[in-house]
């Protein structure tokens, strides 16, 4: 891409200052007759300069009474008096100033260079604009909400610090035909962003770029080419509900609804769940939740409040081959696991459909269950429902054993305690 083109600095420096008395007449009303006020003019008026450059300026005094001379005049820049050695008297009515190695402007409205009379009164002023041309904007990223609009964000070159007001303009056009269009709604998601609300075509590529312009020049970003369908995002899934799974102290069930705006198109949507303990900032993410609207978190701590969020990625929409863009997370929903006297397992994961064991603690328990089944096998096709029933029974029998320790010294339960064998349920 071409470097910043030279701006109007040279032209600005050479442009003659507007005649001050005429301005006073037009803008401010006729000067009072017989006021005898001296007037002066600074040249150049409002120049634009590169950082590090030099400036030669003059303050020329007009008017009466005779005797108004350059002697005694002095300069200030942004309210600070400039050293005398930077000035010199050119002639009876003109004081010159030489500034070198200028710093960037302190404010965007320009640095205030002022010519003062001996008594300190202000005779004239000029605003200096000292800065840098813009650098090439980069890192353009765009997304479309539900295929209806397009929002783009970019990074300004050189962190955007040009010391001058720099205007950024997002442009776009259809790749194969059409004219350049300019985005109009800026700063929608941060200082360097723009939103195109409507009239966007699908199934055809757009070219998008950013132009940066200030008094010293302009720069253009690389062109980003995209199809709206490849950058679709959507709303977070609504109606997220988290609930206990019966009496299971280490599980929670999460259910949600497909985002309504795209629900008819989300054939291949992916979902992600994240959850954390109430007083923790560390989220755990469950990645493998493809195209379902429910999931069970397992291996959780008993008696603990969990916050849960869900988000959606509408990838593959209308046959797009590219990954979509994750939605925002849904509002946090909280639920607590039932309390237990047993120490609970540490981590957790979403239990997928199909009954496959997932992580460590669950696997251990399942192994115990299967071992128990081999001994007492009288049904071959088992479901997790049956497994859950067994676990609930295990939990209940453990509690009962603890409660009856002093009450039932004999009997089936007491005998079980005595030899360490697991107690069978009455019925399965």
């Amino acid at each position: 891409m071409p470097a910043g083109r030279p701006g109007p600095a040279a032209q600005s420096a050479r442009r003659p200052p507007p005649p001050l008395p005429l301005l006073l007449l037009c803008v401010l009303g006729a000067p009072r007759a017989g006021s005898g006020a001296d007037t002066a003019v600074i040249s150049p008026q409002d120049p634009t300069l590169l950082i590090g450059s030099s400036l030669q300026a003059t303050c020329s005094v007009h008017g009466d009474p005779p005797g108004a001379t350059a002697e005694g005049l002095y300069w200030t820049l942004n309210g600070r008096r400039l050293p005398r050695e930077l000035s010199r008297v050119l002639n009876a009515s003109t004081l010159a100033l030489a500034l070198a190695n200028l710093n960037g402007s302190r404010q965007q409205s320009g640095d205030n260079l002022v010519c003062h009379a001996r008594d300190g009164s202000i005779l004239a002023g000029s605003c200096l604009y000292v800065g840098l041309p813009p650098e090439k904007p980069f890192n353009i990223s765009c997304w479309s909400k539900n295929m209806k609009d397009l929002t783009c964000r970019w990074t300004p070159g050189a962190q955007g610090e040009t010391f001058l007001h720099t205007n950024y303009s997002l442009k776009y056009k259809l790749r194969w035909y059409g004219q350049d269009n300019t985005c109009e709604e800026y700063h929608t998601v941060g200082p360097h962003s723009c939103h195109i609300p409507k009239d966007l075509a699908l199934f055809t590529p757009y070219e998008i770029w950013v132009e940066a312009t200030n008094r010293l020049g302009s720069a253009r970003s690389d062109v980003l080419t995209l199809d709206i369908l490849d950058v679709v995002t959507t709303d977070p899934p609504p109606d997220v509900h988290v609930s206990r799974v019966g009496g299971l102290e280490d599980q929670l069930s999460v259910r949600w609804v497909s985002p309504p705006a795209l629900k008819d198109f989300l054939f291949q949507a992916k979902y992600q769940i994240r959850y954390r303990v109430e007083d923790s900032v560390d989220w755990k993410v469950v990645d493998d939740v493809s195209n379902q609207t429910s999931c069970r978190l397992a291996g959780l701590k008993p008696g603990t409040v969990y916050f849960v969020q869900v988000r959606c990625n509408p990838f593959g929409i209308y046959g797009s081959k590219k990954a979509g863009i994750w939605s925002e997370w849904s509002h946090p929903t909280a639920a607590s696991t039932p309390r237990s006297e047993r120490p609970g397992p540490g981590g957790g994961a979403c239990e997928p459909r199909g009954g496959e064991p997932s992580s460590g603690p669950v696997r251990r328990e399942l192994k115990q269950f299967l071992g128990w089944l081999k001994k007492h096998a009288y049904c071959s096709n088992l479901s997790f429902r049956l497994y859950d029933q067994w676990r609930a029974w295990m939990q209940k029998s453990h509690k009962t054993r603890n409660q009856d320790e002093r009450i039932l010294p004999t009997g089936r339960r007491g005998a079980a305690r005595g030899n360490g064998a697991q107690v069978l349920p009455d019925k399965l």
């Binding site: 200052p17 507007p18 301005l23 803008v27 008026q45 309210g79 205030n112 009164s121 202000i122 000029s126």
Partner: protein
């Protein structure tokens, strides 16, 4: 003693008796508005000088008090005038301010485009000056006094010339207009305060 039955009562007497509380309420209300706007005008001035850079806003900064077309500062003898005349001058000044504030806002939009609060305050000031001016005219009408004379001309020429003026001059002009706005709302507050019963003169 006239009876109140039917419509034989002198309507003027009747309306003056029944409108006096209304007038007092109106004066109270307008005085409160002026007091609030005086505070906003001070905030506008502070915001304005902040964005122009030093020496604007420095103690002792004394720019030329440039004349502004169609508007001058309250005269030294203003406080000695009769109340209706003072309010008439207040209303005239408040009517002249909005177009000037608009000119300042447009210029500041070029000079300080990233100062949305300043631009919003300038826009609000124009609207508030209009509202206060209308309220003062309503008080004048309720007092039976003539309101102000012909409306000032729109500041189109001033706007065009201000756009062409040097930046420093535009900054000084804007400061002058903001200062006049503060002076006139403050003056209006004081003038209305003298009409409010119990309010110190």
């Amino acid at each position: 003693m006239s009876r109140r039955e039917g419509s034989l009562e002198d309507p003027q007497t009747d309306s003056s008796i029944s409108s006096l509380p209304h007038l007092e309420a109106k004066i109270h209300q307008t005085h409160s508005l002026a007091r609030l706007l005086t505070k906003y005008a001070e905030q506008l001035l502070q915001e304005y000088v902040q964005h122009q850079g030093d020496p604007f806003g420095l103690p002792g900064f004394s720019p030329p008090r440039l004349p502004v077309a169609g508007l001058s500062a309250p005269a030294p003898g203003h406080a000695g005038l009769p109340a209706p005349e003072r309010l008439r001058l207040d209303a005239a000044a408040l009517a002249a301010l909005p177009p000037l504030l608009d000119v300042v806002r447009r210029r500041q939009a070029e000079l300080n485009p990233r100062a949305p609060r300043l631009l919003r305050r300038l826009e609000d000031a124009a609207r508030q000056a209009r509202a206060l001016g209308a309220a003062v005219e309503a008080v004048l009408a309720a007092l039976g006094a003539e309101t102000r004379g012909p409306r000032p001309e729109p500041a189109a020429a001033a706007a065009a010339a201000a756009a062409a003026a040097g930046v420093f001059l535009a900054k000084v002009l804007g400061l002058r207009v903001c200062g006049l706005y503060r002076d006139w709302v403050s003056r209006t507050e004081a003038d209305l305060g003298q009409l409010v019963p119990g309010c110190p003169a």
